[in-house]
């Protein structure tokens, strides 16, 4: 047993952190967020150069074949800097292509992802489905050798800035995956609370060829669930980076902000509060280690599911405690857009609800626990 990153993992995490520290500080991020595109192609290109976009993709596609643990340090750095580029969206969709795609699909798409030339999004969630992954009403019907897709997807992260979408749809045989050009769908684009680009996607009689089907016709649910668990593990790691920033900056504020002639950190009522934040952060880090370790290398699906659910419950709780307390202990300043901590608050708030909120994972964990080993 050991909890250290390998030398390679550490090196990559360090260089990503260094790059973000220089080119993606809070002021730089503000400009990126305020730009019409809402993300930075230059940043994306640099991440690709550093090998980050290729990290979790297979070697035969030019990637590095990395797993969730290899991504942990990178995601932490992203959480610290509040990166808004569509990394998670692209990686989730690319992994689906890597795992389910034909040789032709993999060759056509993955090398461009590795090179940073292709951004993807995974369009799965639908209005009313909540966190139930099986709730897919978007339909795919055979049409002239290809397929015709009809339906709506909600809050698709990265959709407005992706070139292609991986879309889940129900055929006669069950839930299946399709690769669809962004240009073929209608997107209501907006920003999310945490300043990422997202959109509601409408597929209105969208015709795609037979080669758009990703993996078998029907039976895609287990793959989707595995993929969402992988995404959950990544946001757990990202959350740890964001939490660390929130805790550090709050601690710093307590040491420097003076009221009643003394630093407010001298008030014991506040000291215990930051201690609890610190404990929550450490507990979250432990669970992020568990999540990334089990996301793609668990002994069984059940083991993976339980680990991810346990981690997501704990991370959601810590996100909530740390985000709320960091704002509260900053007083009025914590409420303003001017301080980064309020943006970290927003990201942590969203992570708590992404890939299933605490209640969803409590239910999943309890059900699996009840089944016995």
């Amino acid at each position: 047993m050991h909890f250290d990153y390998s030398e390679e993992q550490q090196l990559l995490a360090d260089s990503v952190r260094r790059f973000l520290g220089k080119g993606y500080d809070f002021e730089a991020r503000k400009k990126i967020v305020a730009s019409a595109e809402g993300w930075s192609p230059e940043t994306w290109a640099t991440l690709a150069e550093m090998g980050v976009t290729g990290l979790p993709l297979p070697a035969d596609a030019g990637g590095f074949g990395g797993g969730a643990v290899d991504l942990m340090g990178v995601m932490e750095a992203f959480g610290d800097a509040l990166v808004v580029e569509p990394y998670l969206a692209t990686i989730l969709a690319a992994r689906l292509i890597a795992r389910a795609g034909s040789d032709a699909q993999r060759e056509a798409l993955l090398p461009s992802v590795v090179d940073g030339k292709l951004r993807l999004a995974f369009a799965h969630t639908e209005r009313g489905a909540r966190y139930n992954l099986a709730q897919v009403q978007t339909a795919a019907k055979p049409a002239g050798g290809g397929w015709e897709l009809q339906g709506e997807k909600a809050v698709v992260l990265g959709a407005p800035i992706a070139e292609k979408l991986v879309v889940s749809a129900r055929t006669a045989k069950g839930v299946s995956l399709f690769v669809v050009d962004r240009g073929a769908v209608a997107i209501n684009a907006y920003r999310t609370l945490d300043q990422m680009r997202a959109g509601d996607v409408t597929l209105k009689s969208v015709k795609v060829g037979g080669d758009a089907l990703l993996g078998p016709d029907g039976g895609a649910l287990p793959l989707i669930e595995e993929s969402m668990d992988f995404g959950a593990a990544l946001v757990c790691a990202e959350a740890v980076g964001a939490m660390k920033f929130a805790c550090d900056t709050t601690l710093e504020y307590l040491k420097t902000r003076k009221q009643f002639g003394v630093p407010i950190g001298t008030f014991q009522a506040l000291q215990h509060r930051v201690v609890d934040m610190y404990i929550a952060q450490e507990q979250a880090r432990s669970m992020a280690c568990l999540a990334t370790s089990r996301a793609d290398s668990a002994a069984s699906d059940r083991e993976r599911r339980m680990a991810i659910s346990a981690a997501k419950i704990k991370i959601a709780d810590s996100c909530r405690l740390i985000s709320q307390e960091s704002v509260q202990l900053h007083g009025g300043m914590g409420m303003t857009e001017e301080l980064k901590v309020s943006h970290t608050f927003r990201r942590l708030t969203m992570i708590a609800q992404q890939f299933g909120d605490a209640d969803h994972h409590l239910a999943r964990f309890a059900a699996l626990d009840g089944e016995g080993p």
């Binding site: 969630t125 684009a189 907006y190 920003r191 009221q259 002639g261 509260q328 914590g334 409420m335 239910a363």
Partner: protein, 395 residues
Amino acid sequence: MDLSYSQEELAFRDEVRGWLNANLPQDLRDKVANYEELTREDLLRWHRILAKQGWVAPAWPKEWGGTGWNVVQRYLFEEELGYVGSPPLIPFGLSMCGPVLLRFGTEAQKKRFLPRIYNGDDFWCQGYSEPGSGSDLASLKTKAVREGNEYVVNGQKIWTTLGHYADWIFCLVRTDSNMSKKQEGISFLLIDMKTPGITVRPLMLMDGGNEVNETFFENVRVPAENLVYEENKGWTVAKYLLGHERMNTGRIGGSKRELAKLKEFAARQPGDDGRPLLADPRFRDKLTRVEVELMALEITNLRFLDQMRRSGQPPGADVSMLKIKGTEIQQALTELAMQAVGPLAQPFAPVAANTPFDEFTAGLAPRYCNYRKTTIYAGSNEIQRNIISKMTLGL
């Protein structure tokens, strides 16, 4: 012991409820229901409707337009205002500056300002906090120097709520820096926002809204007749006002309304298993806990009122618990509402104002963010706890 309202009190409540339902304009009602930003005109329109009915300042003495209602009736009225979902009555004139003038103002000041506050002719804001003086208000530094018949004011206020709408600001300023105690040497000044030298700069909050500002004073000349009470005795005025400010922070009517709305919403919203979220025991239990907290707060509030009605005295330090519990409940409700919509809580409405997703849903996450303010402003909940610890528990 009898926890029920009397027949007369219930009749009074029904009358108020009926009138509010008949007189609250639909467009204002909709704006409040959708958590939309209210304009100066929206706020004043509702203020003036109530003023015309004679109900805008129930607690004031009758000669100045008060209703003569007792404390229970006033409480019922406020609860109904919250419950019906009316625009808020901005407290700065009606429940802060007004009561201060009634208690400390000269006849001339009362005649000049009170009718205009009552009728909604002047919009007021509050200039207490400064960048270096929040919880430790008495350390404030904004200076006012007497020159002949004027005070010359220099300094900065921060967090001035709706300062960008305001015609007037009441300020705490330092008129003497050589006093041994920092609470001494502070004065209470009324300042016309149109006076040269005042700059209002918006401070954006994390929900993207502009409700607070920084207010800068550079050689602002204020007629000495705008001093309230005695020079260097402003802290006495402020303390009186802080007591007033904390009386209405339970916000029970508003929370009842949000709770009812959330229940109704959760009954329509499917949970993970496709059944209504309200039937999900995990969600339901959380909702029930908030509901029970609210019941306890309501009864606690009524106990305070009963005491007040009998003793004629405000309840003192213990009102802090109404602020603590009331704000915790308000925050819990916004959090549950955000959780109720699950993944759909992510879109951020202010930035995407013209995208056609459901307006109500889109407002929930920003509202959750915005409501974090409630445990910070009007005396942070930590300071409220300090008050109970010191004043009630003697620690």
